[in-house]
Symmetry: C2
Subunit: 123 residues, 2 copies
Amino acid sequence: MKDIGHCTTSCDRIKDVLARIGDKWSLLVIIALKGTGVMRFNELKRHLGVSQRMLSITLRELERDGLVTRTAYPTVPPTVEYQLTTLGESFGMAVRTLSQWAIDNLDEIDTARADYDAAQQNA
Amino acid sequence: MKDIGHCTTSCDRIKDVLARIGDKWSLLVIIALKGTGVMRFNELKRHLGVSQRMLSITLRELERDGLVTRTAYPTVPPTVEYQLTTLGESFGMAVRTLSQWAIDNLDEIDTARADYDAAQQNA
DNA sequence: CAGTATCCTTTACGATACTG
DNA sequence: CAGTATCGTAAAGGATACTG
């Protein structure tokens, strides 16, 4: 789509950030690491219930964006640890606000949904 | 996928919220409405550069979740105004933290990306 | 253990055309 | 103006099998 006739630069940057962290797993990985500090690959996998493939992709992107560090130890079998960078920690702070809101208000959203759906029935 | 062997309820709720607002347009609509107060359909469409179809779907979902109100006036041609509910405003506050972080730190992410990609070249 | 490679299905989304 | 309906494409993501 052509990038014409729409909103300002700050809007574009939000789009960029959403493109980066708006997927299903990035935020959850950040939250998990923020809570635990250091985690290994399969530990994260089990914790989140994510497929191997998607966790691999997600972690690589987060590393690329400078939000997490990957540390591999030359053991057999391999040991790889992930943790937040300083930038990742700062992002985690911003995410905490959002996740706290989610926890606090999801019930209200569920109620609104039920009301809306009920109203649609009578139409 | 089976919901077994993974993280706690709060994690599931984050997933739920992401499923709701993790799409390409929901957050941007919230941000737009938060900044402007009241907006009409085509006004939002032009502002965001979103297709008619997706804006329609997004607004309906946001209304269903109790985050925006839809007010239709019986004019010809029709006039429809959208604005945030109280719940939507409160969500907008949480989103502001995230979007501010985005604006402040996207350059650093871009740099990290460039570094990462450069390092991959020499491998 | 920590991935990669391949395949397949579902979903997101835009473009276009049509309606009250 | 504010949508809906239909279609087609591209991206997301899971399942499974394989590897150092």
